[in-house]
């Protein structure tokens, strides 16, 4: 069996390697950061323009009242699920191999939620009144509409985001203490001192830490499932053809995990390269992630087929018309591409030697995410273009550059946050890698002892 990690890495080396990623960045880092900033600038410019002129500049209309904003919103929400999967679910399942990679996955969760939140905002016609959708105390006793899935959305996302931040932070405390102890000057020292909350690694602290971490993890899992189920409810609770599908919540959750895992592969490869984490982000771990992704891909494919089949064999003519429209209408290229990327491309992951082929997996992971983004778009727009009312069918409404600009910008925003995070916080969990190494060496020792005993 391949080793997930070498058992003979010295703890000091772990500290050194990880903390090195916090040091003065390489030029490549600055390039990425600047590119991300520029992309974000494009999106920001588009939003300023749209805010001032009106939503019309997005080239939305009646019936296309929703467009790429909502599609991309779901995409980013979906992306966030990977972190929870890796850190919370796999934590509970004692899958040790998650340890070197869960931290950045969890950061991804937080940042993609923050990105998704932006899309809710830019989507609103009256962004400046967004708080009407939030139950806040006011003297007029006006409440938001608790029947609206969009309200559930707002609450679920907010809860999920705050829980994710707490989870990310709690899990980081021992590492922050390491950083505090190893870095001796500057603002970082002050920051880590503050955030480490006086962590000294006492027995009592570790015990409390474990319990807290476990509790938050347990809390987070249902939240993650519910969050994407609620996003699915935005559609499934409506009455529109193509949306009114009972299987949407699990379908959305599967899609979310899927895109999240694909994104983990992408970031895994990037971080491994940029921060030279070859020791920790090892090939066997990659292989495991790829296998996991493949499994989820198949679940997603299955649920996708269920959706098609249930529409096809139902007597819901309108929904059927939307499905036919997706396959043959103006959205057909995107729809087929989505099916190809989502269900055919992952088949490459079945091949054992591809599983650790970094360039190929990098490409595959990008294609998977493209497919998943298209999936969201194909859920949102075709229903508008070919809804119940034929008079308002509109097959040719194309999102304007403002919409594309903001979608583009969101990737910049995400990258920006992520890159900053990587330079400020350890993106590999040092204490857990140490645990892993320790567990491994312990296991080895046991084996040796056992062998000796046998002699």
């Amino acid at each position: 069996m391949e080793k997930d990690i070498r058992e003979d890495i010295a703890w000091a080396k772990i500290n050194g390697d990880v903390l090195k990623s916090l040091e003065t960045p390489r030029p490549l880092y600055w390039v990425i950061l600047l590119v991300a900033l520029a992309m974000f600038g494009v999106g920001l410019g588009c939003e300023i323009y749209q805010y001032n002129i009106g939503m019309g500049v997005a080239n939305l209309n009646n019936p296309h009242v929703w467009g790429l904003y909502i599609a991309t919103f779901i995409f980013w929400i979906g992306m966030s699920h990977s972190g929870t999967l890796l850190s919370a679910i796999l934590h509970l399942m004692h899958a040790d191999w998650r340890k070197p990679i869960y931290r950045f996955a969890e950061a991804m969760t937080t940042f993609s939620l923050m990105t998704a939140g932006l899309f809710v905002m830019v989507h609103l016609g009256r962004l400046w009144q967004f708080y009407y959708a939030v139950p806040y105390p006011n003297e007029r006793w006006t409440w938001p509409n608790f029947q609206s899935p969009l309200l559930w959305d707002a609450m679920a996302i907010f809860t999920y985001l705050s829980s994710s931040v707490i989870f990310l932070y709690v899990g980081m405390i021992p590492d922050l203490a390491i950083a505090r102890d190893n870095i001796h000057s500057g603002w970082r020292k002050k920051l880590y001192t503050l955030l480490a909350l006086g962590w000294e690694g006492t027995d009592r602290q570790w015990r409390n830490f474990r319990v807290t971490y476990l509790t938050v993890a347990c809390f987070l899992i249902p939240l993650a499932v519910s969050v994407h189920s609620i996003v699915a409810s935005d559609f499934a609770m409506s009455q529109q053809p193509g949306w009114h599908v009972t299987s949407f919540p699990p379908y959305f959750v599967a899609g979310a995990l899927y895109s999240g895992c694909a994104a983990i592969i992408t970031l895994f490869i990037i971080l491994r390269y940029v921060f030279k984490f070859e020791e920790y982000m090892t090939m066997p771990i990659l292989r495991k992630v790829v296998r996991l992704t493949f499994a989820i891909a198949m679940v997603w494919t299955y649920l996708n087929l269920i959706e098609y089949a249930s529409v096809w064999y139902s007597h819901d003519e309108a929904a059927k018309a939307v499905l036919i429209q997706k396959a043959t209408g103006p959205y057909a290229p995107f729809w087929w591409m989505m099916n190809f990327c989502g269900s055919v491309v992952p088949l490459l992951m079945m091949v054992k030697r591809f599983q650790t082929n970094i360039p190929m997996m990098f490409a595959v992971s990008l294609l998977l995410n493209l497919g998943m983004w298209l999936e969201r778009w194909m859920i949102v727009s075709p229903t508008f273009s070919h809804g119940y009312y034929p008079w308002t069918w509109d097959h040719f409404q194309w999102p304007s550059l403002v919409q594309w600009g903001m979608v583009f910008g969101s990737f910049g925003w995400f990258t920006l946050l992520f890159m900053v995070f990587c330079k400020v916080f350890p993106s590999v969990s040092m204490y857990e890698v140490k645990e892993m190494v320790y567990h491994r060496s312990l296991a080895l020792k046991n084996n040796e002892l056992a062998e000796k005993g046998a002699h």
Partner: protein
């Protein structure tokens, strides 16, 4: 409604500053937050007791959007007219309005109105005071003799017409050209010949079958709101017997779209269909008068079918229906207006009414107007040809234009604009700087119909003869505009000061004129003030009920229909200009509600289009949105193609009304001017321009646009859903419906 005891002048004064204050205070375009809004407390205003802030008052007046003369009630609040409704007491529109009428307020509030008398010399425009303008006119008409002073107006009636006539008398001119670009002039002439009157009363509501040969009486023909009312009655019928509408035309009009059976007829062969139906009626056992029988003998169903494209079966079915269900009503519209033999078509159609015994039942004599001087003088297209001829010959020294835009609507062949240039002094009475005002030397800004006094006697009066009152619904928006009555009065005061010295203004003149005849206007025995206030309050003064019988009977003698025209190889298609319900002859093109109101049949907005049958389009390789070049012998335009099933494959159709070059922000540059394509072919009997006689060729330019229309991707399809459901009379029980 405000009844008695109000001093109208005080009221207008109140409205004056009321309007100003509200203009600042209202609208909601600004907010208190940004500091732009000025809130005026009503308590600080000294309003008269009848004007309650926040309460609207309705004043009756007369719509000026078309010549139907519908009676309207303007909603006035805090000195502003907000909306026009129909006057429920009106025999014409019975409380209803059309879209055109609704948009009347946009003519009034239009920001592109002319606000000042303008003198235009050598490309320079300067503002002029009214007294200088009048002096200038006096000088110019003084330098011309008699008929050298010509007047070109739209259809005129009421007291403004009296003043026009008097002014022309004063100048010794008989050159009054009354011009309407799309009026049913051939129908009028043919009616005169057939029934003895230009416009008989039609009782669509009493007919059980209506056969219309291209008369778009629901859309743009004569008095659409009135006919729509009748039509509603006709559809309801009595005892569940629903009226049947058959429309025979080459291009589907709004009326055609509402027909039970729409028959696409080869353009120009409507008369043949009429005779064919007569023939079929004879065959079905109806006794025909000898002259009619002789005439229709040759028109057996097979021949008619071959000539016209209407199937023999349909002709027989129609004859059976007409025979079974009486009374019926046959109406001529584009069949008469469109062709060089239009009068003959109309005569054949009139004959059908005679054969069916409709005369006196569903076609009736109109009320006679006891005061012929206020009766309407309807316009003719031939007037333009005559005027253009005199201008070309230098016989016109001074030309007044009012309520007509000939520079825009004249067929190219007349070279009207060029000839107009030969007139040394041109005065345009104008609301807007339209194409004709652009050519004028002196432009006199008119009050809008919501600001002026006037009277209107409509051409089509369904009951008694009626004098419609037009009264201001609010204070002038622009101080330097004048009512046309006031202008004419001022001009008359220059020529005949003694006759008009008693009248300060047109209001005084009008009041005097009406009160002088109050006995004839239903006011016998009431005192002047009461009668005057009542008349204003009602907005309508009845002018006697004298209604005779139709004097003439349509005769078969002299009727001969030409064989269907063969296609011209150079110009193989026929152009049918479409008078749309929204834009008519183009005078409303600057009213944005109408531009944005989709054409009912194509749902296209803000543009001109070329309608062609799918088979024609297939032959030409044209698809929707292709920019096609349409050329006639007189002109060439480019416009977007729209594939339209309701048109004969031998024809294409283009709407009139757009393509203005000078009409304000909402009209300029929108679409193309279809008038510019028209050939100067006239009806042989009346000399009226035959609207459908222009032969064109169509070619692709290779450019393509997206047709801007309300109809979506699905086109006119309901995709199998139950949305707009249609049933047939045998599947429905209409008796007892509420």
């Amino acid at each position: 409604m405000i009844e008695n005891g109000i001093n109208r002048r005080d009221f207008l004064k109140v409205m004056g500053w009321g309007g100003a204050a509200v203009a600042l205070a209202g609208c909601g375009n600004t907010s208190v937050q940004d500091g732009k809004e000025i809130v005026t407390s009503y308590a600080s205003l000294d309003l008269p007791e009848y004007a309650i802030p926040g309460i609207s008052v309705y004043f009756n007046s007369t719509c000026a959007q078309c010549d139907a003369g519908c009676n309207i009630a303007g909603r006035v609040r805090e000195g502003r007219v907000l909306k026009l409704e129909g006057n429920p007491a009106s025999p014409i529109n019975r409380g209803k309005t059309c879209g055109l009428g609704q948009a009347g307020v946009q003519a009034h509030y239009n920001p592109d109105r002319v606000r000042q008398p303008l003198l235009r010399t050598g490309g320079k425009t300067e503002e002029l005071a009214w007294d200088k303008a009048f002096a200038l006119i006096n000088e110019k008409v003084g330098g011309a003799k008699g008929n050298e002073v010509a007047f070109l107006t739209g259809g005129l009636s009421g007291h403004a017409k009296v003043l026009f006539t008097n002014y022309m008398d004063a100048l010794g001119s008989k050159s009054h050209y009354v011009y309407e670009a799309v009026a049913p002039s051939v129908v009028r002439a043919a009616n005169k010949k057939a029934y003895g009157v230009e416009m008989p009363r039609l009782h669509i509501d009493k007919a059980r079958v209506v056969v219309s040969f291209g008369a778009d009486f629901l859309g743009a023909w004569v008095s659409p709101v009135h006919f729509s009312q009748q039509y509603a009655q006709f559809r309801k019928g009595s005892n569940g017997q629903r009226g049947v509408l058959v429309q025979i035309e080459s291009k589907m009009t709004l009326t055609g779209a509402n027909a039970d059976r729409w028959l696409a007829v080869r353009p120009g062969t409507e008369g043949i269909v009429a005779l064919g139906v007569i023939h079929a009626l004879g065959e079905a056992g109806m006794s025909l008068p000898a002259d009619v029988a002789a005439l229709s003998k040759a028109y057996d169903a097979e021949r008619v079918s071959k000539d016209t494209g209407v199937s023999a079966e349909q002709i027989k079915k129609l004859a059976t229906l007409l025979k079974e269900r009486t009374p019926s009503l046959v109406i001529a519209g584009s069949a008469a207006e469109g062709y060089a033999h239009g009068s003959q078509n109309a005569a054949a159609i009139a004959l059908l009414n005679r054969v069916l015994g409709n005369i006196g039942k569903t076609i009736d004599a109109p009320a006679t107007v006891p005061f012929p001087q206020v009766a309407v003088e309807t316009g003719k297209r031939s007037a333009l040809e005559a005027l253009s001829g005199s201008m070309a010959g230098g016989a016109v020294k001074v030309l007044f234009t009012y309520a007509a835009n000939p520079v825009y609507s004249a067929p190219a062949a007349l070279k009207f604009k060029e000839n107009l240039g030969k007139v040394p002094f041109k005065v345009a009475f104008a609301h807007f700087m339209d194409e004709t005002a652009q050519e004028a030397d002196l432009v006199l800004p008119l009050d809008s119909a919501m600001e002026e006094w006037g009277t209107v006697v409509p051409e089509y009066m369904p009951e008694t003869a009626q004098l419609n009152i037009r009264q201001p619904l609010m204070e002038r928006l622009h101080t330097e505009t004048r009512g046309v009555g006031d202008i004419m009065l001022a001009l008359l005061k220059q020529s005949r000061p003694n006759d008009y010295k008693d009248f300060d203004d047109f209001y005084a003149y009008l009041r005097n004129a009406i009160l002088k005849n109050k006995a004839a206007l239903g006011g016998a025995g009431t005192d002047d003030d009461t009668f005057w206030m009542e008349t204003l309050s009602k907005g309508i003064a009845p002018m006697g009920t004298a209604m005779g019988k139709l004097a003439a009977t349509p005769a078969a003698s002299g009727l001969s229909l030409p064989a269907p025209a063969e296609a011209d190889s150079a110009y193989p298609l026929r152009l049918i200009p479409y008078v749309t319900p929204n834009l008519r002859d183009g005078r409303h093109a600057n009213q944005p509600w109408l531009q944005e109101s989709p054409d009912p049949l194509t749902t296209i907005v803000w543009d001109t289009w070329v309608e062609m049958h799918p088979s024609t389009a297939a032959k030409l390789g044209v698809v929707e949105g292709d920019i096609v070049e349409v050329s006639s012998r007189s002109g060439t335009v480019q416009a977007q193609a729209y594939i339209f099933p309701g048109i004969h494959p031998d024809a294409i159709s283009m709407p009139l009304g757009n393509g203005h070059t000078s009409m304000g922000r909402w009209a300029n540059g929108v679409g193309v001017n279809t008038f510019a394509l028209l050939d100067q072919v006239v009806d042989k009997d009346t000399g009226e321009l035959a609207l459908n006689e222009t032969q064109v060729k169509v070619s692709k330019t290779g450019k393509r646009v997206i047709v801007v229309k309300d109809e979506g991707f699905a086109g006119g399809s309901q995709a199998g859903k139950k949305i707009a459901v249609r049933t047939s009379t045998d599947k429905v029980e209409l008796t007892g419906e509420v």
